[in-house]
C-alpha cells in the first residue's frame, strides 16, 4: 500500500475505493492536524478539523481537478474548517470553559515565551513552523501540503524564525540572535 503514489490513490478513491481514501487520510492526517493546531492552538480541536476536512474531501473528491494537488486541496479544506471552529469557539467563549492544553513535560518559562511568540506570528508563518516542527515534516512533504516550492517554504520559515527571535527579545530574551 505504501508504494502506491498519492496520484494513484486519488484516482482509485475517485472511483470509489474506500481503502485508497483512508490511506490518503493516514498520509495527510499529521500535516492537517499541524495546520489546524497552528490556527486553533488546540490539539483536540485540530484533530476535529482534520477529520471534518477528510469528510468534506470524501464527499467532494470528484471536484478535485488534479490528483497531484490533493495535499494542498485537502489542506485548504482543513484551514477553512479550523477557521470555522476558531470563530465558533470565540463566539461561544468555550475557550474559557475548556481546560487548557497541558504543557509538555519540562515546560518552563522559555517554553511559555516561545508559545506566546508563536501566537504573535501571522497565520501563514505559524502554519509553516507547525508543519516543520510538529511532526518533523521534510520540505518536500510541506511543499505537497502547502502547494508552494521548497524555496518558498525555506524563505517563509526563515522569516518566521527571525520574527520569533524578535518577539522573544521583546519578552526579555535579549540574547536570542539569528
Amino acid at each position: 500500500m505504501e508504494d502506491r503514489s498519492d496520484n494513484l490513490l486519488v484516482e482509485q478513491a475517485i472511483r470509489g475505493d474506500g481503502e485508497s481514501f483512508t490511506e490518503l487520510c493516514r498520509r495527510y492526517y499529521g500535516p492537517l492536524v499541524a495546520i489546524g493546531h497552528a490556527i486553533l492552538g488546540d490539539r483536540h480541536l485540530a484533530e476535529d478539523a482534520a477529520q471534518e476536512a477528510f469528510a468534506k474531501a470524501a464527499a467532494h473528491l470528484p471536484r478535485l481537478r488534479r490528483a497531484d494537488q490533493f495535499g494542498s486541496w485537502v489542506a485548504a479544506i482543513c484551514r477553512n474548517e479550523a477557521r470555522g471552529l476558531y470563530r465558533a469557539r470565540r463566539r461561544s467563549q468555550i475557550d474559557d470553559q475548556r481546560p487548557r492544553e497541558e504543557a509538555p513535560a519540562g515546560s518552563d518559562e522559555t517554553g511559555e515565551a516561545v508559545k506566546a511568540a508563536l501566537k504573535g506570528l501571522p497565520e501563514d508563518a505559524r502554519e509553516v513552523v507547525f508543519l516543520r516542527f510538529y511532526d518533523g515534516l521534510s520540505y518536500d512533504q510541506i511543499s505537497a501540503v502547502l502547494g508552494i516550492s521548497e524555496q518558498a517554504i525555506n524563505g517563509r520559515l526563515r522569516r518566521a524564525k527571525r520574527r520569533l527571535a524578535e518577539l522573544l527579545r521583546r519578552h526579555g530574551f535579549d540574547e536570542v540572535e539569528l
Binding site: G18, T22, R26, R43, R65, F133, G136, E175
Partner: protein
C-alpha cells in the same frame, strides 16, 4: 555561562513548544463518525464512467489536448475551404477599369493613407490617358 541562543536553540525550543506525539489517523472511528460521506465515496464505485470522463476532462493535459485538436480542426477547415467566388451580380465594380481602380485605391490607402490615395488617383488619371485600341471605351468605364 549561558547557552548561545542561536538558530539551533530556537529549533529545539520550537520542537518542545510545537511538537508532540505524532497524531495517528483512526480510520474505523472516522468511518463511523462520517458514515454518510464515506458511503457516498463508496457509492461511486458502482457509477458509470461519467465520473471518469469528468475526471479526465478536468485534467490539464486532457484540456490542452482538446484545445489543440480544436485549433487543428479549425485550421484544416480554413485551409481546405474552397475559395469563395462572388457571383457576377454581386460584383462591386462594373468594369475592369473600375475594378483596377478600386484595387489600386485600396492598396494605396493601406500603404500611404489619404496621401497615398491622392497620389494614386493622380497617377491613375495620368495612366488612363492613352487606351489600348483593342478595348472599346465602354469597357474601360
Amino acid at each position: 555561562m549561558s547557552e548561545h541562543k542561536g538558530e539551533p536553540w530556537l529549533d529545539r525550543q520550537l520542537r518542545r513548544a510545537v511538537g508532540g506525539d505524532t497524531p495517528s489517523f483512526d480510520a474505523e472511528s472516522w468511518k463511523r463518525r462520517h458514515r454518510d460521506e464515506y458511503e457516498a465515496l463508496l457509492a461511486r464505485a458502482g457509477q458509470s464512467g461519467r465520473g471518469r470522463v469528468r475526471w479526465v476532462w478536468g485534467r490539464r493535459g486532457a484540456g490542452l489536448a482538446v484545445a489543440a485538436a480544436v485549433i487543428l480542426a479549425v485550421g484544416m477547415f480554413l485551409t481546405n475551404e474552397p475559395r469563395r467566388t462572388i457571383p457576377p451580380e454581386d460584383l462591386v465594380a462594373a468594369s475592369p477599369a473600375e475594378m483596377m481602380n478600386m484595387m489600386s485605391l485600396r492598396l494605396a490607402y493601406e500603404q500611404g493613407g489619404f496621401d497615398g490615395l491622392d497620389r494614386q488617383l493622380l497617377s491613375t488619371l495620368d495612366e488612363f490617358g492613352p487606351r489600348s485600341l483593342g478595348v472599346p471605351s465602354w469597357r474601360l468605364f
